[in-house]
């Protein structure tokens, strides 16, 4: 064996050791998109509605000394129901990244309170039942989050923690009072709330279907409660006739405060429950990384 072969053997040995030391090139960084649907259940819910008695449930006022007051109430949260989510994220490396997601309540759960003999006037003999429906509109939660994952080749565990910025938080309320005189009053109200930041946390698992596509499933938590700000009357019918203009003159918007200030105010504010626990699933797609191609000039090409 000649000196050249020996030298080549030396180089080959050293180079192979170098390759053994270096890690595989990191192709886990980059942008990705995520979309999914899920269903949210109330978490840390409440039952008592300071304006209408209950958010969800039934009451039965006694009309005689032989009957007793009975009630049934449910714990609720105004972010429960069917959700859709869209997100854009960036992984700095295979383990850590950031994400901005939008979670929209596409079919919010409607809550009903039914009060049998809610109004009882012994003197006149008038008895009335009340039915209240409450539902949030297209509640949207914007969440900037930190993402962490195990970055396995096929299966991947991940967590996501961040802030929850609630948008479009109005609650639509319909109140129907039906009296034994035949009168039916229907109030349409809108409850607005003050902006407050909440938090969300998620743990899930994803499976790599192809080079850039993954399917994922997760459990998420939203921790949020908003203070009621104002109650607007947007409609009133009495036996299907519009009575809103007359009513609005004497009953303007009800403002809700934590402090009455130097003058007596209408009502104290209260916390509206928005926390939930949700099961979600969907797809994510990793964007291709752009690679720079070295152009070979004809002059250099000809030399080779």
């Amino acid at each position: 064996m000649n000196k050249t072969s020996l030298a080549l053997l030396l180089v080959l040995c050293k180079v192979s050791l170098l390759f053994a030391q270096t890690s595989l090139p990191d192709n886990n960084s980059g942008f990705y998109m995520r979309a999914g649907i899920g269903y949210a259940f109330p978490q840390a819910g409440q039952s008592y509605d300071p304006i209408h008695a209950f958010y969800s449930g039934t009451t039965n006022n006694p009309v005689s000394s032989n009957s007793t007051f009975t009630f049934s109430q449910d714990k609720i949260s105004f972010s429960s129901g069917l959700h859709g989510s869209l997100a854009l994220g960036y992984m700095f490396n295979k383990n850590v990244g950031v994400e901005l997601s939008a979670d929209m309540c596409v079919a919010a759960r409607k809550y009903n309170y039914s009060g049998t003999t809610y109004f009882v006037d012994s003197a006149s003999g008038i008895i009335g039942n009340r039915s209240v429906d409450q539902k949030s509109g297209m509640l949207t939660i914007l969440s900037p989050s930190l993402v962490m994952q195990t970055a396995g080749d096929k299966w991947n565990l991940y967590t996501r923690l961040g802030f929850a910025l609630p948008l479009n938080t109005d609650i639509d309320i319909s109140v129907e009072n039906a009296f034994n005189t035949g009168e039916i009053d229907i109030y349409t109200e809108k409850l607005k709330s003050k902006f407050t930041i909440g938090y969300n946390a998620t743990a899930g698992v994803s499976y790599k279907v192809s080079g850039n596509m993954k399917v994922w499933a997760e459990m998420s938590l939203l921790s949020l409660a908003l203070d009621a700000d104002e109650l607007d009357y947007v409609g009133l019918t009495v036996n299907q006739q519009n009575y809103l203009p007359q009513f609005a003159q004497n009953h303007p918007t009800v403002y809700l405060y934590k402090s009455s200030g130097t003058y007596p105010a209408d009502n104290r504010t209260f916390a509206i429950p928005y926390s939930n626990m949700a099961f979600n699933m969907g797809l994510s797609w990793k964007f291709h990384k752009r690679t720079v191609v070295n152009h070979v000039t004809p002059h250099k090409y000809n030399r080779q």
């Binding site: 053997l9 030396l10 409440q46 383990n95 962490m148 409660a225 009455s260 916390a271």
Partner: protein
Amino acid sequence: MRKILTLLLLVHSVPMLFAQDNQIIQAKKKDKGFYLRGGLGYAITHAGQTSGPVGIYSGTYLDNSIYNVKAASFSAGLRGHLGFGYMFNKSIGVELSSETGMVNTMYTYSSSVVNLSQSNQSSTNTTIHYKAFFPFILSPSLVMQTGEDTWNIYARVGVAIPLSHRIDIDEDEVVSQSGSRNEYKYTELLKTSFSVGATAAAGVSYKVSERFKIWGEISVLSVALFTKELDLETATLNGIDNYANANRPKIPFSLNSNNYDANMANSIPFSNVALNVGVSWKLPEMKVKKKTKKKHVTPREYNRH
């Protein structure tokens, strides 16, 4: 000579290749193992509520119209943390942690109501203190971390199981009427129903030594419990025991009226956001001694040696 040199080269290189794999295996073994975590933190109200089954938690209320109320959460205050966890590898592990309320925030509600009717001029001044009694929450969690050598980012997500969640209430009511003054004092215990919540944390740790790390994190606890029973513990009138004359020493609460004579249950806020700091210690690995069989030497074999 050349053949010997070539052989020497190969003999030198091959073990080094295996040495690389061995280093990676040893590094992975270092990342596994049990750890203990301890720390302190301060929690503030999150998703709080202003009023409950006995009235406003915190604030003032004057003459049925002028008021100032604040949101309350009964897990706010100084917290102590202990955790015991196991890392399966450098990225993922599980932990069982506990959060104890060491110094809990006391909420005070005071009201003053004046009745100026000609037949009955009176005033009632009421002060009520609410405070949780050593709330204790157990949290089995999933832990994920970047697993870097010195600085490490981690996240923890899990279930919150409240094991101690009662609230102590002290009420002082002074009724002044036509020159007379009566002071009623009550101490009550509000029991709550069990309910599971959720907890999450994100933080950063710094490796001080091979086994010790210091860490700082922000955590969120989301849980609300419903009232179960209000027990009257003591009642005095002008300093004299008045328990026998107290009305309804035990008030049950329920979500429905199947429980006869029960009041309507209300949710009690226990959610918080906290800033915590502490230390963690990686436990030494337990080495298992392998038993080796002793070879018995017969006298005949022994003599041979």
